[in-house]
Amino acid sequence: MIGRTAWPVRALAWGLVGLLVLPFLVIVPISLTDRAYLSLPDHALSLQHYRALFADTRWGEAFLRSLIIALCAAAISVLLGTLCAFGCWRLAPRTAHAVRALVLLPLIVPAIIQALAFYRTWSDLHLINTYTGVILANAILAIPFVFIAVSSALSHLDPRLELAASGLGASLGQTLRWVLIPLVLPGVFSGALFAFVAAFDELIVVLFITTRGMDTLPKMMWISLDYDLTPEVACIAVLIGLLTIALLLAEFVFGADTKRQAGNSPH
């Protein structure tokens, strides 16, 4: 330890972190306003806009639709991303490097370009405005999150465990099932959560590859931002935020502590 940071720097840092969280903290009271428009509560807190939100079936349908899409997309990306991370772990460095570059590509390519690309190909394959199309696109975009989380968990694993298992006569399938996957389960869990959140929140690609009747929650929110800014939008924003907080807490408790690992292992 070289002692604490000088207090002005520390105060500035905490001020900045406060500003980061502030917008979300502010929409909570706004969503509880007793007025008919977006503002802080005047006299009392009121749940009227939450009631209106739950009474409006369109929001409920959009939530279910987003949930189905995110769950399916996360399932596909967890399966493919985990297997791929295992493969990369033991492949020759040159091959592994090429695979890694390909699999991480969706993180780097700007969303608008992916949206154009998906739109063009999905129209040819008649996947526009279908669950299959939206799930497939979201699964592809979520694979990198799973891949990174599982790779990070694997990098802390002793490769001799795999040798020991195969030396004792286990097939690759058995080694994976009984030895490797249980050891990196927290990493898989983190990857699954991140994949779910990414797929649940995806907006731009969904805007391009869906038309009417396929509104996800973010898409509904986007449309109402354009047309009518009602307090219901603030309620939806709060609910999405609470869902994210819950998932992140679950990740902190059950997931691989990838953050600390990232800090500890600068390779």
């Binding site: 590509l105 190909t121 992140l248 600068p266």
Partner: protein
Amino acid sequence: MTARARLSPWLLLVLPAVALIGVMYLTPLLRVLWLSVSEPSLGFGNYRLLLTNATIQRVAGTTLWVCALTTILTVGLGYVIAYTMVHAGRVEMRLMLFCILLTFWLSVLVRSFAMLLLLRNDGLVNQLLLASGLVDHPIQFVRNATGVVIGMVHVMIPLAVLPLYAALRGIDPALMRAARGLGCGPLRAFAYVFWPLSRPGLAQACVLVFIFSLGFFVTPAILGGGKVVMMTEYIRLQFEQTLRWGLATMLASSLLLAVLLMLGLASRFLNMRRITGPAA
């Protein structure tokens, strides 16, 4: 070695993901690149517009300076947070990290919407300013570049803090103690020891933030209110309103090539692997 690797059963494990991404992702991307040189006619006619069309140049200019300003502010402020985190106690560090990760994972749409409620003319910030008598008229924070930059910095800070934190943690604290022991004041020790050692991390964070800023769509659309047209928004306009696929794909391809070029240069000169994933 390569022959054995090709036969390796581990290759089967990467195959599903590689096949899916290769067929359903990479191929569509390459088709976008191809469209940019084949629509409406074969050749580099679309790319010539980059040099001749004043609107495109203005949009590109706006994009570049907004992203540059965002990058400088984000990395500067992110450095302060990362520096404090590195030197904080365990509890303080975890608390900061949780706040950063929470913002990182919170939907960009939700965050930009919340920002809009704070910054618009009858928003909370202006209400506070008016009530305190500091201003007579609300200050215009949204529907202009100010709002876009504030919103983008807000969204980007976690993205800068995480790699900066990893980089700053790697600096040996004994070096600072040695500098202090040799008679340096805290400021001099920082300026001559800590700062130079943190420059590679800073460069990485800059590249990362700049690249992601270029692709921003939601925040400029919500906080710019159509007044600050960035490249992504302009591409969407070409797609939705004028259906000029040649132009849209040319701009998309240029953006993609710019991003990949920057990343390529950066990984040549900086160790980017620390960011793209803690590979084995």
